[in-house]
């Protein structure tokens, strides 16, 4: 019975642990942040509670100890120092290994002993007065959302709603929204008929019951008070973002108004609130908010199931296309109409299924935060890590496949790129090295950029090594870009001594290979003493891409649409009448590749050929095809082992007639051609 929960538990805990790691690293930077301490405490608390239920007694025991230590911090009996962060990080690792079952219990017990010593010391070290003082000083504030909709005859009861509002204002910090209906509140007050509903956001140190007392003379259906706990705020990042501002009191009234309005369920906002039925509107509020929490929650699905879904969707896409071909023979408008709808639905279904696979880049990047912290400690370099675009979404498989390339790049940056503190100071740089990871969309692809402000790649050394390795001649003139591409050659390294951290520098070659395998590419820019920027361009999704189908000597070839810039018709004579293989495009000569020639087909005798301008990483080149067939939604199938060493194709796709079409590897092709 319990076993069926274990897998889910493990997945959930893994996520919790990632978040924990994030918090810990944040805590190290900002040790005074009580909210982070609370977060960590809560994670430990949750783990303790749930681990016991599914039979992870060891996790339960360990987290119990951690809970204790963070309790002390919360109570102000202990300060955060790096030893606590260190031991918690260690604890996180141990918990992770406990999850997978390959931890020996000794490790856990070891940690428990250390923590017990720490907590005992902390308890002894505290002065008896101190915690009392700190609890008195730290008045906890509550955040209330109050809806106040007095009956229209409220004045005849000798009551004035404004008095309530004044009392609330006196109770703390408020933000009040008036839903006045047709007449202004002032006018209503004059006429002694109340149609106004107040919506009050109140931050106050008063307890719930004390707030209730303010409404003493009002009936239960005339007001409702909700207290938002911090937990609730954190469950819903959306709410947290909006209300967190109210918490921090750093926000202008106008912004508050806007934010609070945004917070409301749609029918509640604006002046159209039905004042005749205040009872109903109040009753609605809470369920709406709770259901939003539910919506925000994620469901963990094993990637196996997702893959299966993707496979099925892929088949469906292919089948629909086949069906269309067959149906076109009948010329039946009803059939084609229905089919059109099926196609639309399939496309929606496909997009939805694809979305399921998308995960924010941040899930990977937060893993690196820890590594970067450890690495910078190990190397004694101060690293200021900046991460942008964590929300950018990308296919889970792709994200997984770039994990180790990205790791390589980051390690390279810290180990080789960023200088030690003294060197930086002597260069007039800030003592802290900057490492910036940026993710953003560019067309259909996702770009992940790693920039550092270190010493840059030493191109003179690259040249020396290239000559030594026989990759270049001693007197050969090499452009900067050519030199940079050298570092991506197999076995290339400039480092004399092998560093523990980044290995032997086989990295960049492996990085490029791995990126190519998922249809991505790599680009490196470097400037001496200014730094290095490494750009990875990745497709957002792997399994289905939009392609352009072309024909070359009766074989069908697919080119990813995202790589195509332009297509045009050109006379064969004009294209191939000269010796050089270049074509003028937008006043620049760009390389021209005849696919017939590449694939060893006889030269074409067709007069009008199609030129397709391919733009990969701003490097443009033209390929010549016999004709363009049309767009094709390609479900990518990997090519077998037999085809691993060919440079032209990255995969295949089954066509509607059951034949196979190859997908042109635009990246490899370019490298292949320019090498010749």
């Amino acid at each position: 019975m319990i076993d069926e929960f274990v897998q889910g538990f493990i997945e959930e805990v893994k996520e919790l642990l990632l978040q924990l790691e994030d918090d810990l690293i944040g805590l190290e930077k900002d040790p005074g942040n009580l909210e982070t301490v609370n977060n960590i405490f809560r994670v430990m608390h949750t783990l303790k509670g749930s681990a016991g239920m599914v039979g992870f007694k060891n996790i339960q025991d360990l987290t119990h100890e951690f809970e204790g230590i963070y309790e002390q911090i919360r109570e102000g009996q202990r300060n955060i120092d790096s030893s606590i962060v260190d031991i918690t990080l260690k604890g996180k690792d141990v918990i992770l290994s406990m999850l997978t079952g390959d931890a020996d219990d000794g490790k856990g017990q070891e940690l428990i002993d250390i923590i017990r010593k720490m907590t005992a010391k902390g308890a002894r070290g505290k002065s008896p007065k101190k915690p009392k003082v700190s609890t008195e000083v730290r008045v906890s504030s509550h955040l209330y959302v109050i809806l106040f909709s007095p009956d229209k005859g409220v004045f005849e009861r000798g009551l004035d709603p404004d008095k309530v509002i004044d009392e609330l204002k006196a109770a703390g910090e408020t933000h009040i929204l008036l839903h006045e209906k047709k007449k202004s509140w002032e006018k209503q007050k004059e006429e002694k008929v109340c149609h106004t509903v107040w919506e009050i956001y109140l931050r106050s140190s008063l307890a719930y019951s004390e707030i209730g007392d303010i409404f003493l003379f009002f009936d239960k259906d005339e007001f409702s008070i909700f207290e938002l706990s911090r937990e609730e705020l954190q469950i819903d990042p959306f709410l947290e973002e909006k209300l967190g501002k109210l918490y921090k009191n750093k926000i202008t009234p106008e912004q508050q108004l806007k934010d609070c309005l945004d917070l409301l369920p749609e029918q509640q906002s604006g002046a159209q609130l039905p004042a005749e039925k205040p009872v109903d509107s109040i009753a609605e509020i809470k369920p709406v908010e709770t259901s939003r929490y539910d919506m925000e929650a994620t469901v963990n699905v094993s990637s196996h199931k997702l893959d299966e879904l993707m496979n099925l969707v892929s088949e469906l896409v292919t089948l629909t296309a086949t069906m269309e071909v067959h149906a076109s023979r009948f010329n039946d408008p009803r059939l084609s109409n229905t089919l059109e709808n099926v196609e639309k639905l399939t496309k929606k279904f496909r997009n939805n299924a694809l979305d399921l696979r998308l995960v924010p880049v941040g899930t990977l990047l937060s893993k690196f935060k820890r590594q970067i912290r450890d690495l910078s400690k190990e190397l004694g370099k101060k690293v200021n890590l900046l991460i942008e675009g964590q929300d950018i979404e990308i296919d889970k498989t792709i994200l997984k496949s770039i994990e180790s390339p990205l790791q390589h790049i980051i390690r390279n940056s810290i180990d080789h790129g960023l200088e030690p503190e003294e060197e930086r100071l002597s260069k007039g740089k800030s003592p802290e090295g900057m490492l910036k990871i940026t993710a953003f969309y560019s067309g259909a692809s996702v770009i992940i950029q790693v920039q550092d402000d270190g010493r840059g790649i030493n191109l003179e050394r690259v040249r020396e090594c290239a000559v030594k390795k026989g990759l270049a001649l001693a007197d050969q003139v090499l452009s900067k870009q050519e030199l940079i591409s050298m570092i991506m050659e197999p076995g290339f390294t400039t480092s004399d001594n092998i560093s523990m951290v980044s290995g032997r520098g086989v990295g960049m070659n492996v990085v490029r290979k791995e990126l190519n395998s998922v249809g991505g590419g790599l680009e490196v820019f470097t400037e001496k003493n200014l730094g290095t920027s490494i750009t990875m361009k990745l497709p957002t999704t792997l399994t289905i891409i939009d392609t352009l189908m072309i024909d070359v000597a009766n074989s069908q070839i697919l080119i990813p649409i995202m790589d195509i810039e332009y297509c045009f018709k050109e006379k064969r004579q004009t294209l191939f009448n000269k010796d050089n293989r270049y074509i003028q495009y937008k006043n620049n000569p760009i390389p021209l590749i005849s696919l017939r020639e590449q694939f060893s087909y006889p030269a074409s005798d067709i007069e009008d050929l199609m030129v397709i301008i391919i733009n990969k990483f701003d490097r443009k080149y033209a390929v010549v095809a016999d004709l363009i067939i049309g767009e094709h939604q390609a479900v990518i199938k990997p090519l077998g082992d037999l085809f691993v060493n060919q440079p032209f194709f990255s995969g295949g796709s089954i066509m509607v007639d059951g034949k196979l079409a190859f997908i042109l590897d635009t990246n490899f092709l370019f490298n292949h051609i320019t090498k010749i």
Binding site: G153, G158, F217
Partner: protein
Amino acid sequence: MKKRIVVVEDFNTSRQIIKKTLESMGHKVEEAADGREATRFFNGGQVDLVITDYNMPNMDGGALVEYIRSKEEYKYIPIFMLSTETNIEKQTRAREAKITAWIKKPFEVTEFKKLVEKVLS
């Protein structure tokens, strides 16, 4: 600030307790033994609060409230209604009764003071 409060109650002991309590809070108290007697206070004079019993001879609390609310200048003054009524059905909602609040007899003095203070604040 000193307020003028009209207390309407047929049972003298109760009226005196209420009077003492209100006076101890620094307010001026006008007394009436039933609703009809109380009407004389609503002829233009200042009244800040009415505390009235419900079951009274001659004119009961409900009728008194009707009377007060029919007068333009007293239409919106606060009124507390005292009641021993435990039957919920009989005790209409304050909203329908056009009163500020029901106060159940016997009342607790501090609780009573709190209500008065609040309504006069």
